[in-house]
C-alpha cells in the first residue's frame, strides 16, 4: 500500500472534512466528505474555488485569516459556515497545520474541518435561553417590587384605617360621655364664679378683708386649671395621631382613665375603685390606645350595672404582675353579666347587646391589645357581673 492509499483510507474514515493546501494557500486536496456535504465535486473546490462554498459574511474574514496564516503570522484556527448540498449552512471549526522542511519553510498545509453546527445551535439556544432567563428574572423582580410596594401601601392603608376606626370609636365614646364631661367642666366653673362673688364681697367689706379676697382669687386660679386639665384629657383622647409607642406606667394610665370617667360613673350611680399594684413593671405601648381600652371596659361595666338595682355599684380596676414578663389589668363589675351562649361572639365586630350600640368597642379593644402583644378575655364575676382582663408584655419582654 502506498502512502497515498493509507492516507486516503485514513481521511475517508474520519468524520471530519480533510483538506490540504500548497504553501501559497491554494488548496490541493479535499476529502470525499467535502463532496458528500456540499454536493460539489472536488475539482470545483480546488485552488480557491472552495471559498465560493462559504457563507457570504464569512468569506472575506476567512480569506484574511487564511492569508495571514499562510504568511506565518497566525495559527489557522477559524470557524466559518459552509453551504450544504441542500442550501442550508453549517458551522465548521477549521484547523490547519503547516508542514515544514528542514529549512523551516512551509511545504504543505494539512487541515480538518469539524461540523459544529449542533454545538453552535446549542450554544445559541443556550444564549437565547440565558437571555430569556435574564429578562424573565428582570420581569419577576419588577413584579415582586411592585407587588411589595402594593402590599406595603395596603398595609399602611390598613394601619391608617385601624387607627381611624379606633379614633372614631374614641370620639363616639367621648360623645356618649358628653353630659358628664359638661358636668366636669361646670363644677370648676361654678367654683370660679362663686369665688369671684366672694372676692368682691370681701373687698367691699368695711374694712376690706384682703386675706380672704386673696384666698378666693387663689382658688379661682386652681379651679381654672382644673377645668383646663379636664379639657386636656378629653383633647388627648380625641386626637387622631398615628400610634406612638413609648414606655408607660400602666397605673398612671388607669388613674387618668379613672379621672376621665368618674363623673360618668357618678351619673349612673356607680363608682370606680382602683386596686393598683405599686411595683408593676413598665410596658411599651401607645398611651391613648391603651387608655381607650381601659375606658371602653369601664364604660361597658357601668352600662351593665345600670340595669341592676343592687348596691354598691362599683367598678374595680386593678393592676398586677403576671409572672416576670407580663402585667395584667382587670376591670370588674357587678352588672348583668355575660350571656354564656355568646361568650365567643363577645369580641366580634358588630356584636352588641345594647339597642343603640355599634358593637365595635370590644372588637377594637381586642385588636389594640393584640397589636401590643397581649390578650383580652372575659369571665363571669361572682355573685354577678363580669370580669374583663387583658395582659401586656413588659418592656423587657418587648425588646427581646
Amino acid at each position: 500500500m502506498t502512502e497515498i492509499d493509507s492516507w486516503q483510507i485514513l481521511t475517508e474514515a474520519l468524520p471530519q472534512l480533510i483538506w490540504a493546501a500548497a504553501p501559497d494557500g491554494a488548496c490541493t486536496y479535499f476529502s470525499t466528505q467535502w463532496t458528500e456535504y456540499t454536493g460539489v465535486p472536488e475539482s470545483e473546490m480546488l485552488g480557491w474555488g472552495w471559498m465560493a462554498l462559504l457563507h457570504p459574511d464569512d468569506t472575506e474574514p476567512t480569506r484574511q485569516y487564511w492569508m495571514d496564516s499562510v504568511a506565518g503570522r497566525i495559527q489557522y484556527d477559524v470557524e466559518y459556515r459552509v453551504r450544504r448540498w441542500d442550501g442550508e449552512y453549517g458551522w465548521f471549526k477549521t484547523r490547519g497545520t503547516p508542514v515544514r522542511n528542514g529549512n523551516g519553510n512551509i511545504v504543505r498545509w494539512f487541515g480538518t474541518c469539524t461540523d459544529i453546527t449542533d454545538q453552535k445551535r446549542a450554544e445559541e439556544a443556550l444564549r437565547f435561553s440565558e437571555q430569556e432567563l435574564r429578562e424573565a428574572r428582570r420581569d419577576l423582580e419588577k413584579k415582586v417590587a411592585s407587588r411589595t410596594a402594593e402590599r406595603m401601601r395596603a398595609e399602611e392603608a390598613l394601619r391608617i384605617a385601624q387607627a381611624d376606626l379606633a379614633h372614631v370609636t374614641r370620639v363616639t365614646t367621648i360623645g356618649e360621655m358628653a353630659a358628664s364631661i359638661a358636668h366636669e367642666v361646670n363644677q370648676p366653673l361654678t367654683a370660679v364664679v362663686t369665688n369671684g362673688s366672694a372676692c368682691i364681697r370681701w373687698l367691699s367689706a368695711n374694712p376690706p378683708n384682703l386675706d380672704e379676697a386673696r384666698r378666693a382669687v387663689g382658688r379661682i386660679i386652681n379651679d381654672g386649671n382644673r377645668a383646663g386639665e379636664v379639657i386636656r384629657r378629653i383633647r388627648a383622647l380625641v386626637k387622631n395621631t398615628p400610634p406612638q409607642y413609648e414606655c408607660l406606667d400602666i397605673n398612671e394610665l388607669i388613674r387618668e382613665v379613672t379621672a376621665i370617667a368618674h363623673s360618668e360613673a357618678r351619673r349612673s350611680g356607680a363608682s370606680i375603685q382602683t386596686h393598683l399594684c405599686e411595683n408593676v413593671p413598665s410596658i411599651v405601648g401607645d398611651r391613648i390606645q391603651l387608655q381607650q381600652v381601659i375606658l371602653n371596659l369601664a364604660m361597658n361595666g357601668m352600662e351593665a350595672m345600670s340595669e341592676v338595682m343592687e348596691e354598691p355599684k362599683e367598678i374595680l380596676v386593678s393592676s398586677s404582675s403576671s409572672g416576670p414578663n407580663a402585667i395584667v389589668v382587670e376591670v370588674r363589675d357587678g352588672g348583668i353579666g355575660l350571656d354564656p351562649e355568646n361568650l365567643t361572639n363577645l369580641f366580634s365586630a358588630f356584636y352588641t347587646t345594647k339597642p343603640s350600640g355599634m358593637g365595635m368597642g370590644l372588637a377594637i379593644s381586642r385588636s389594640i391589645v393584640e397589636a401590643h402583644g397581649g390578650r383580652l378575655w372575659a369571665e363571669p364575676n361572682k355573685p354577678r357581673g363580669a370580669v374583663f382582663r387583658f395582659s401586656l408584655p413588659t418592656q423587657d419582654e418587648n425588646t427581646l
Binding site: 367654683a191 362663686t194 378683708n209 382658688r219 351619673r267
Partner: protein, 208 residues
Amino acid sequence: MMEDEAIVFVVDDDEPVREALKSLLRSVGWRVETFASAQEFLQRRRRDIPGCLVLDVRLPGLSGLDLQRELAVGDDQPPIIFISGHGDIPMTVRAMKAGAVEFLTKPFREQELLEAITQAIKQDRGARRQRAEITDLRARFGLLTPRERQVMGQVVAGLLNKQIAAELGASEITIKVHRGQVMQKMQAASLADLVRMAEKLGIPQNGS
C-alpha cells in the same frame, strides 16, 4: 329674734365648690358648715340655731332628693335649696313639690343663691318660732287639770258658763273658777287669744 345668728349647711361632694360657697356665704355674714355627703350631714348637723340646707342633687351614696325625703319624716325639716350640675324638669318638679325653697342649676348667679338663702332662713326662723310657741303652749296646757281641759274645750267652742255647767254637771260658779284657772295657766289675754291657742294646739272646738 331677727338678729339671731343663722347657719347654712352646704352638702356637695365637689371640694372646690364647697370651699367657694363657704367663702361666699361667710362674706355675707352667715355661719357655714360643709359636708361631702348626705350621710356626713345626718351625722353631724345641729339644729340649735336657724339655718337652711344648700344641697347638690347628685351625691355619693344617699342622693340629695333622698335626703330631702328623709328629713321630711322628722319634725324640724330645714328649708332646702338645691344646686345641681344637671337638673332636668322632672327632677326640679319633684324637688319643689317636696317643699324645696329653690332649685338652681350650676353655675348659679350669686344673687339668686343669696336671695334664696335669705328667704330660707326667714322661713326657718318662722318655723322655729312656731314650733317654740307650740311647745310652750303644750307646756301650759300640760299644767291644766283634766277638768280644766274639759272646760277649756267648751269655752273655745263658744259655750256660756251656764251651758258648760249644765253640760258638765257642775255649778256655774265652779265653771267660772275653772275658766279663770284656764285663762291664767294658758296666759291668754282674751277669749280670742285662747281660741287661737286652742287652734294651734289642735284642740277640736266641740268640747271633748
